[in-house]
Symmetry: C2
Subunit: 191 residues, 2 copies
DNA sequence: GTCTATAGCTAGATAGAC
DNA sequence: GTCTATCTAGCTATAGAC
């Protein structure tokens, strides 16, 4: 081909990150194409070229991106040969960082409300499930029995999500950090 | 006065309940005036007569309504002379009912996202704080020391909110019920 | 692949008759 | 206090030049 394509000015990954940022802070319905275009630095028309499915496709892409990030993190928790305690620390650390210490809302939660929320539920559930599975295996590595591991994993996800809500409504990120510490303690409790 | 006012066709309380229902299921930005009018059975023009402040005013009214409900429930937890254990059961029971056993999302959470979310944060925080205070006093009545009571109260709210999220994304209301049970156990743990 | 311009529609909100 | 009719602004999405 000797056709010269116009250069992509903003990398796909950068666009995704910006889209995620907006969806996270104002939700799906709250995010307008105008705002998304402004935030990404990509004009509306170009955004539609990248995501022919429009806003929905952008949300899907963001969720795919998060699923990838999540998988990478979870693979470390699963298959690393490091001690279970170190892997727990890594997992909690990456969660801590992902939410900027409790200052950021959860994109998954932001996308789980709204008129078209049903469209994203399966993707969101899959990511949550992936996390639950990771924590479950980790709990087993800590020596907990299966039922305890399941309950502990679900409880961990429950507390993370819940504490993010409280941390943001009270504007006290500490509540998030405190919850992560409590989770840590729970894992170490003897059976 | 001999002026005859036109009759109010739908009671204010009924309207509030319907508004709450819509905000809860689709969020603030996701709720259109057309939808709100249809759900309440009150035409747009009439809705604006009742709430001159428009959609924002409706959200405020819903939050005020919830604050009232919450206060009534909390007063029972505070000032009733019944045993602490019975009051805990009452509190958990009313929470269970309010969320229809985990099948309903939390309106407060639904209103805490979106472009104008900041407008509602103080009202939402006040309601959450009211709950935390109630559970804190209750924990004290259970014999827990102050620090434990605070942590337990915050942890309770954290778990309730978090488990609602998981219950809805996984469409497993049981997770909510299970969490309420766990909370109950925590309160009974000896110091 | 970039962009501008605009179509087509629905949003929230208002005016005014009854 | 009810309603219908309507306004304007903003929305998502598209068309087509470069």
């Amino acid at each position: 081909m000797n056709t010269v394509m116009a250069i992509q000015k903003v990398a796909d990954e950068v666009v995704i990150e910006k889209l995620m940022e907006i969806f996270r802070s104002v939700g799906y319905d709250g995010a307008s194409m105008t705002e998304l275009a402004a935030a990404t630095g990509v004009k509306k028309g170009s955004l539609y070229h990248r995501y022919p499915g429009g806003k929905q496709a952008m949300a899907y892409a963001v969720l795919d991106h998060i699923a990838d990030l999540n998988n990478s993190a979870m693979i470390k928790v699963f298959f690393s040969s490091e001690p279970a305690d170190d892997r727990l620390s890594m997992a909690l650390r990456s969660i801590y960082d992902f939410y900027d210490g409790g200052k950021l809302a959860c994109v998954l939660r932001a996308l789980s409300h709204g008129a078209d929320a049903g469209l994203f539920r399966n993707q969101i559930a899959a990511i949550f499930q992936n996390c639950v599975n990771g924590f479950m295996h980790l709990a087993a590595d800590f020596g907990h029995d299966m039922n305890t591991s399941i309950r502990l994993a679900e409880s961990t996800m429950t507390r993370i999500q819940g504490s993010l809500i409280l941390a943001q409504t009270f504007q006290k990120p500490d509540l998030f950090q405190a919850t992560l510490n409590e989770v840590r303690v729970e894992f170490h409790k003897r059976i």
